[in-house]
């Protein structure tokens, strides 16, 4: 974990939605953010863990896996630079991680302290609105991806009445 202020500020400023924050909101978010380097293969969090951080990928690739007994770790999604992961830490409903996150490539992530973020949002509803709107977009996008994956559109068509 690094908290070199210059490096952190530069990292946060490279994130498009942070660039749109009012400066007081940017300061608030900075105060709860940390920069973390990850090695290939390093785990960020595991299924069942308590939810402590919201992550934003800066460089590299983080794989989201779910373990299925009998089938092993299934890779559900890979997060690329600027993707948000661990978003469920900010919503009140789910209380533990539903998937594991592991770095596939070396890189860096921004870690936002989830309990503190929730507190900030409660105290400043303007910031809360911006954060929740951003997360709503993330969840919507993830839902669409999941739906398309669910439709299994590349599956081999049924052979029953095929007449070519």
């Amino acid at each position: 974990m690094s908290s070199d202020p210059k490096e952190l500020t530069a990292a946060l400023q490279s994130i498009p939605w942070f660039q749109e924050l009012e400066s007081r909101h940017f300061e608030s978010m900075s105060s709860i953010a940390l920069l973390k380097k990850v090695e290939a293969g390093e785990e960020l969090f595991r299924e069942g863990d308590k939810e402590d951080y919201l992550y934003i990928v800066l460089e590299g690739r983080i794989a989201i896996d779910m373990f299925v007994p009998g089938r092993g770790r299934q890779r559900i999604y890979t997060a690329e630079p600027m993707d948000v992961i661990g978003w469920s830490s900010v919503t009140p409903v789910v209380r533990q991680r539903t998937a594991s996150a592991r770095a596939v490539l070396p890189g860096r992530v921004v870690c936002l302290d989830a309990p503190k973020l929730r507190q900030l949002c409660d105290q400043d509803h303007d910031l809360g609105y911006v954060v929740m709107r951003r997360l709503a977009n993330v969840v919507a996008s993830r839902l669409l991806v999941s739906r398309l994956q669910l439709l299994d559109m590349f599956a081999h068509p049924s052979k029953e009445t095929a007449n070519d």
Binding site: P157, T161, A162
Partner: protein, 375 residues
Amino acid sequence: MTELIPEVGSTVALKKSAFNQLLATLEGMGYQPVGPRILDETLQVGPVEAFEDMPRGYTSEQEPGRYRLIYTGHPRYFDITPGAPGWKQYLFPPRVELFTVRRTGKSWTIDEPSDPTPIYAFIGVRPCELAAILVQDRVFLREEWSDPIYRTHRQNAFILTVNCAHPCGTCFCASLGTGPRATSGFDLSMTELEDMFLVEVGSEAGRMVIAGLPFQPASAFLLQTASRLLEDARKRMGRELPDPQELPGLLMSNLEHPHWDEVAKRCLSCTNCTQVCPTCFCWDVQDQPSLSGDVSIRERVWDSCFNPDYSYIAGGNTRPSTRARYRQWLTHKLGSWYHQFGVSGCVGCGRCITWCPAGIDITAEVAALCKETVV
């Protein structure tokens, strides 16, 4: 009898008693005359050897989903409007061999069918049916490629049209401008009067046929009688198609109109309409292999957009519902056909209305679609 041979475009009068001579002339030129015949108590199209073979005295009552052949004993030979079969089966046979392949070592040889193409004279083509042939010309004979089967059958055919003096209940050629009078595309066109036929010469082939016959000049009286007869017929159509020119735009912008659900409840997707429609052209191609697999006959057969397999693609069907298939048929026939071929696909013959077991009437369906929906 005069010594002059009528010019193309002129009209002469021919006594009905000379009609057998006309048939004989056609046969002498190598044509096989085919025309409307009463066979097995139905109106069919078959070989015509004599004038007496014509369905004299018969008429038909036609309504949505209803057809009755009725003998009234009237003196006219051609006063019956089309039954189910038409001329499409001659130019575009329902089942025909394209070629046969035979295994030769690792490769194959192709044998094309060598039976001589019959040369037909179509006797008694109605103006709507003629219009349909002209539509199918655009489908099968194109600049990029043409269908050899249609081409050879078509170029050999002699067309003798008979104008309609008594349209039936499902006719609506007038709203499409395809009848009751044929204007061009025929070799000879006749209007039946009391004792005479008025014969309009449409081509050199028509000229050659009429030349040897005992024709007489067409008097003003005869011409006026015929004119009046056909004008009356035009006004007495069983139904009409609203605004045919507006239909392509209207149909293609109402693809989600609630009325499609309405029709779908009634349509059986039985393909009757596509079979009797004289412009429908869809076809399938199938291999008929021998047991050993060394020989295979490749055949072309009629198909229909109502067939469930018609729109099959790997793993699914792009038009699984009757609603989708009916919509395809109607919007194609009256709408996108224009974009594809420059004319309407409908000639107003009314066959699809008569022969639909559910009694679906496209003129009524179109009228319903034309009505605004209140949202």
